[in-house]
Amino acid sequence: MTITLSHEGETVVDRHRRIATRRTVLVIVLAIAALLLALADVVTGPSDLGVWQVVRGIVLPDTLSRIEHVIVWDVRLPAAAMAALVGAALSVAGVEMQTVLDNPLSSPFTLGVSSAAALGAAIAIVLNLSAPGIGANWIVPANAFVFALASVFLLQLLARAAGNATHTLILFGIALQFSFNALVALVQFYASQQSLQQVVFWMMGSLQRVGWTEAGILAAVLALLLPFTLAAARHMTLLRLGEERALSFGVDVRRLRFFALVRISLLTGTAVAFVGTIGFVGLVGPHIARLLIGEDHRLLVPASALTGALLMAVASILSKLLVPGVALPIGIVTAIAGVPVFVALILHRSRAA
């Protein structure tokens, strides 16, 4: 059936189509920018390797000496890949969290996932845990991951008992976060000098301890979950119109929220387990994407992944450049650099309102 429209109507259809095209182009531009910044991240570092030397070394590994090969392929590339992947994972988790909680100030850490992971890591470090079949370097991330997941399921149980309203979910999340933080402090209080140092360093968030395996696992988790996130994107867009309206449109809001929280916890849990707490990316990434792309989640989700990757690449570069000769833990950089961005966003919002 063809629908006849007035001249004004045709103009509107045309404008809407042009906006959609422009947004798609913007996503592609973001993808290119993220790739270039990730490359810049690989190029940056303390050892004086030239830009072309590194680029050529990535394309043709044989042109590098043995030491250069280790620097580029075993240190810088996995760290840069991990930075981009963590940014993408946290930002996608962030945009989902902001939509399901209907709260623009939420992040993947709002409901205490990072505190739970920190508790898991701290316990593993301080008690020097070991488990059959899990290598010594894997026990800390594994325990952090288990705690992160467990916290989300605990939260779901509590929320279900209280009737599933979003604000109760947030309040329970805050309560959990405070409890986990207190428990982390307790563990630290009883920790030996050496393990205390390790716990503190873990919580700062760092890319120094990752290799290809870790990056590969996070990439696999992301590749596995992203199709589901995209499949839910239409329903997520409708959820922006409010729970009741979404329900009336045929969106099973409870189911949507439950699976979104499962995805958020898997993404956040995996990222945090390997690199520790990296704040602000999951909050700011989605906001920047939203400013550029709008709220249609079919584009907002990929755009958030890209802005997250981009931000983390920048943070990673800064972490190597700020203090010559020292690579600062990236979690500190994102927190320090994130605050002004965050304030700017709030000012922008209040001006727009």
Partner: protein, 263 residues
Amino acid sequence: MSALAIEHLTAGYRRRPVIHDVSIDGIAAGSLTALVGPNAAGKSTLLRAIAGIVPASGCVRFDGADLLREPIARRAQQLAFMPQSLPQGVGLSVLESIVAGLSVSAPEHVRSGRDARRAAVSVLESLGIVDLAMGRLDTLSGGQRQMAALAQALAREPRILLLDEPTSALDLKHQERVMGAARRLAETGCIVLVVLHDLSLAARWADRVVLLHHGRVVADAPPEEALTGDRIGVIYGVTARVERNRAGRLHIDVGGLAESELG
């Protein structure tokens, strides 16, 4: 044409029922029914229960099925519900919000994204609000939002349309527009249920008025039978007179609070 029947509906929040054993039979296709009553009478709860948003016992019969027991997606194909409020800070444009709705449950002839876009614009045209198409929902005035919400619901061409106080934030012109649109939709064979506070609007636009009080139906009849001066007086606690003016419309004249309320 199928009719809608509400049978023994009890619903509420946290085990405290707000409406008790409400039955409204034979709501005909093509009719506009107004749900009226004082504050806290259970009007909105009844509407939400029919929409399947508030848990309810009883049944809502339509087309041989109980809508309350239908899967959410199937129910959405028959029924559109327009709540009173919109969350703050929604960055979608009016057109985007309608297209998003169509992407989840659309009438059969809307098959592609292109169709959806044109169908959405054509609904905006029919409501006379094409100029709002590109406006962000959070920058619209209360009246414009209400019109946009109505467009979201109408675009899906529902067989049952539930409107929760659609005129509450609107000036006279917009009230006329919204009620006119609801009326026109009813004339195409849709069942329209509207919660209204304004009895004059109910009297003017509805074929049937269901008066609720303390969660029970106290009158269910055409406007001139349901809205009598005595009944309004008792239920709202005012002194009221209902007359028919020269144009044949019901005119509700409220004299003041009833003596029992003045204490």
